[in-house]
Amino acid sequence: MGAGDGAVVGTTKIVDNGPDAQRYNVVVVAEGYRAGELAQFATDAQNLASTLAATAPFDRLMPGINVHRVDVSSTDSGADDPAACGGTGAAPATFFDARFCNNGIRRLLVVDSLRVVQTVNGEVPPWHAILVIVNSTVYGGSGGDVAVYSLAPGAVEIALHEMGHSAFGLADEYEYYAGCGRDANRDHHPAVEPLEPNVTVDGNGATIKWRNLIAAGTADCALCDPQPSPVPAGTVGAFEGAHYYHCDAYRPELNCRMRVLGQPFCAVCAGVIERTLQPHQPNRTLVSLNQAAWVPGTSDYRFGFRSIPNIQITGEPADADAARWSMLHDGSVYRLYSFEQGSDDRLYQFGYDGLSYAFGFRSIPRLTLVDFPADADARSFSMLHDGSNYRLYLRRAGHPRTLYQAAWVPGTTTYRFGYRSLPRIPLTGFPAAADWDRWGMLHDGSAYRFYVFDSGSNDRFYQGAFNPATGAYEYGFNSIDRLSLLGTPANSLTDSFAMLHDGATYRFYFQTG
């Protein structure tokens, strides 16, 4: 049984919200459908897409999601259902070898996941999540890079739960391992903080990962199953019992899809999903900025410190690209820039008018980048003003440690590569964990500075500065090498940031969503 037992028939985009290179791509794969049953698979795949579109928070994120259906025919219908597990003993010949009773567990339905991945690599190369529907009404499924579920009522919940793991990095929130009353040595979670965002060993409401969502006074570590919830549904706190342990580990709400199938995602998990999918959203708009400032004498930037906490952005063109933006202060005006959507050489400019960043305020509203090398990477950029020149930086594609520099040509609307600039500047010594998709720059009156986030973190970033002796931005040079963000508001979009120095204060910005 296997690849000789069927064929890849073709792929259809059943939810088309734009170019695959920009959207989040969910791929639904058929298993155990005969050629004559592929129309039924089309219906089953459409049902999955409809379920996704009706499930919070995906319901409001669908504009950023494409769904693809990969039709694969099998010689026979269904999946192996060994009699040893109480099944029918059926052993159909199917393309991905679906079978129940893995490891002697009837509901553990698995497929040849390598063959699935290889198939999808060929059919939909920019895939993000793979879901296999097995044409069987016996309840079952499994997880991993490939989520598998059957057509039994409610089994689609398996797919949603498994997407929580594989696509969004969420942990299981249930407080048992093999089952309540059947576990041994599951009383106390080890005192090691899990990496995942929705479980923690920290029960302190002031420091817990999801502290931004906790209303005052609701964090109560005494709340533990099997009590019914003593607080209203949707209350975020620190509910003891999570991550396979009864005590010393906490989950955000009493219930969540990552704890019990059929429940909605809790606020923390929903927030994680929402932030994860932000880069895929079309027509994402520039709404407002959350502002932080450096706390002198520390390595911390604190939101709201010496700052207007939130500043609106007004008058933005409909096609301003909110995912590609930067800021600077030129000695008199705070400025914000964004690319035009779909363009790698046209910028919009905003100025701070005392109330908001207004499009065109004391600004040339539209600017153009010229003469950049063909391998300039315009997926992100940064800008600064050094007291003499407005400067703009791109990175070299495939060389994240190489900056391309341009400067504004006075009297024109153009930034020209190499104009009054070192055209190429290396970045040296930065940690391997640097996230080269999230970087920013500023000039503070004496030094050109470069910042890059720690990969996987939204509150730690690295600093370096330009060393004229070497002609490079060097990690830690004349700098506090590691910086932290404190008090990040929950509505911050952390996939990009901007920084500037206004002559008095180092400032940091996240957009809001």
Partner: protein
């Protein structure tokens, strides 16, 4: 981006395919607290073995499985079962002088573990190293 597809079988890991893909990466949405500990990570290294890039991850080679039930009282639980074979993938950035990828697993956790990045070199086991061929 560069998508690497790995297969594991009886404890051995194999790089099955290497594919360049034009796609947008999802955001890193999880705010990591200082004490959080990566259990697995990928390293891109150059010819001099300098680490150019590191990506933390959950361990992609499972030691147990999630089991689902249509019993509403116990919809999901775990069972100790290390699959003998399976697949995992990773998306890594294009870095031109990257020559190889290494797969690293943290040594077993101990109570009181602290920020692995702030301190001395973390104890780790190399799961595999693979030369990148797509240039």
């Amino acid at each position: 981006m560069r998508r690497l597809t790995f297969a594991f079988r009886d404890g051995a890991v194999e790089l099955v395919s290497e594919q360049r893909v034009e796609m947008r990466l999802p955001a890193r949405s999880a705010p990591r607290v200082a004490a959080a500990r990566a259990e697995f990570w990928y390293e891109l290294r150059n010819a001099q073995s300098d680490v150019l890039y590191r990506l933390d991850s959950a361990d992609p080679i499972p030691t147990d499985v999630e089991v689902f039930s249509d019993d509403p009282e116990r919809t999901v639980e775990r069972a100790p079962h290390a699959p003998q074979e399976g697949v995992f993938t990773v998306l890594l950035p294009e870095i031109e002088d990257a020559e190889e990828v290494r797969l690293m697993r943290a040594a077993p956790a101990t109570e009181g573990a602290v920020d692995v990045r702030a301190g001395a070199a973390e104890a780790a086991v190399e799961v595999g190293r693979f030369r990148l061929t797509e240039k």
